[in-house]
């Protein structure tokens, strides 16, 4: 996350770096946490592992809600996601950033939590990838501190 400073003017670049860092971490962690378990039978099995065991290791709690359309899209919701639970930035209250022009402030407020969430998306993506599941992960921080992650498995 500290990469932010390096790419202060290039949010897309920073985002991909942060995502890559998360990916690396998720990849290694899932390798460690699956060492002693039998192979997963299907995608749902692997996703459940992420929701329960993997999440518990990282956050001492499980994912609160899991939804799926049974066609490769899963929505994992954490009602109180730790990594953003202390963030004071709320898209609706950016009025006090008077030193910057309003537009920049608005962009920044929307971007900031997203920047942090790139890491978690990377972690989930890396973990699933290590389990043999190629997927894209995005996050929806619109209801902080609750946060949902959308996992789309690539066919």
């Amino acid at each position: 996350m500290y990469c932010n400073r390096l790419y202060a003017n290039k949010p897309e670049l920073a985002a991909s770096r942060i995502d890559a860092i998360g990916y690396q971490v998720g990849h290694q962690l899932s390798e460690r946490y699956t060492m002693e378990r039998p192979r997963f039978t299907d995608h749902l099995d692997a996703i459940k592992f992420i929701c329960k065991d993997f999440w518990s290791e990282l956050f001492k709690k499980q994912i609160d809600n899991l939804k799926t359309n049974h066609r490769g899209t899963f929505v994992l919701q954490d009602n109180r996601f730790r990594w953003v639970s202390r963030m004071s930035l709320d898209p609706s209250e950016n009025g006090d950033l008077s030193q910057e022009n309003a537009e920049a402030a608005e962009n920044k407020a929307v971007q900031e939590p997203n920047m942090h969430l790139h890491f978690s998306c990377g972690v989930i993506k890396g973990a699933l990838h290590n389990l043999g599941i190629a997927c894209a992960v995005s996050a929806d921080p619109s209801q902080l501190p609750a946060c949902s992650f959308v996992v789309r498995i690539k066919p």
Binding site: L6, R17, Q24
Partner: protein, 186 residues
């Protein structure tokens, strides 16, 4: 009831929020790795890690003072002891020792026998010049600067380079006198 007197590193460590150690170690590793890919030059990575540490340190000192209840240190010797015994324990979960004082008490070594940052780490041949834990020196430098001490910090021993411990040399350059009153616009 607020605690009275300074608290021990162990007591604080037991009470603060902690993060999964593997997550911490692997995340740091992934950051270093990403920096190596992006910056290419090992020297640049060292510099960047130090800068990141500095940025952390200047804020971490607030957290430290708020939670440790440590009061003003009488001299640099006490400062070094507090960093090693309370600071490192509080934030890294390990205790360091202070040795190798010079005659006038402005330069010493902080020795870490155990360092969670380097679990699972091995330096490949291409990264021999890398100070993998350079973030730590930045943290200490940044934190001390916020309490009016300008320091210079260098690595003397590094386990990743085959030494038997991590040794950080901390040299006190000068004490910056506090200035009152602060200007309004600062």
């Amino acid at each position: 009831m607020p605690p009275v007197g300074p608290r021990s590193g162990d007591a604080i460590f037991a009470n603060v929020e902690r993060v999964n150690a593997e997550l911490f170690t692997l995340t740091y590793g992934a950051i270093v790795r990403q920096l190596l890919t992006d910056l290419e030059e090992v020297e640049e990575v060292n510099k960047q890690l130090d800068q990141m540490g500095y940025n952390i340190g200047i804020r971490l000192i607030d957290e430290f003072l708020a939670k440790s209840n440590v009061s003003r240190c009488v001299d640099f010797k006490e400062t070094a002891e507090v960093i090693a015994k309370v600071g490192f324990k509080m934030f890294l979960g390990v205790t360091a020792s202070v040795t190798n004082w010079d005659a006038d008490g402005t330069c010493c070594s902080i020795v870490l026998e155990d360092n969670p940052l380097v679990d699972f780490v091995e330096l490949p041949d291409t990264c021999q010049g890398l100070y993998y834990c350079n973030i730590l020196s930045g943290v200490v430098r940044g934190a001390l600067e916020m309490v009016s001490m300008k320091t210079e910090i260098s690595w003397i021993r590094d386990m990743l380079r085959g030494d038997d411990a991590f040794e950080l040399q901390v040299k006190l350059l000068k004490q910056i006198p506090e200035e009152y009153p602060y200007k309004d616009d600062e």
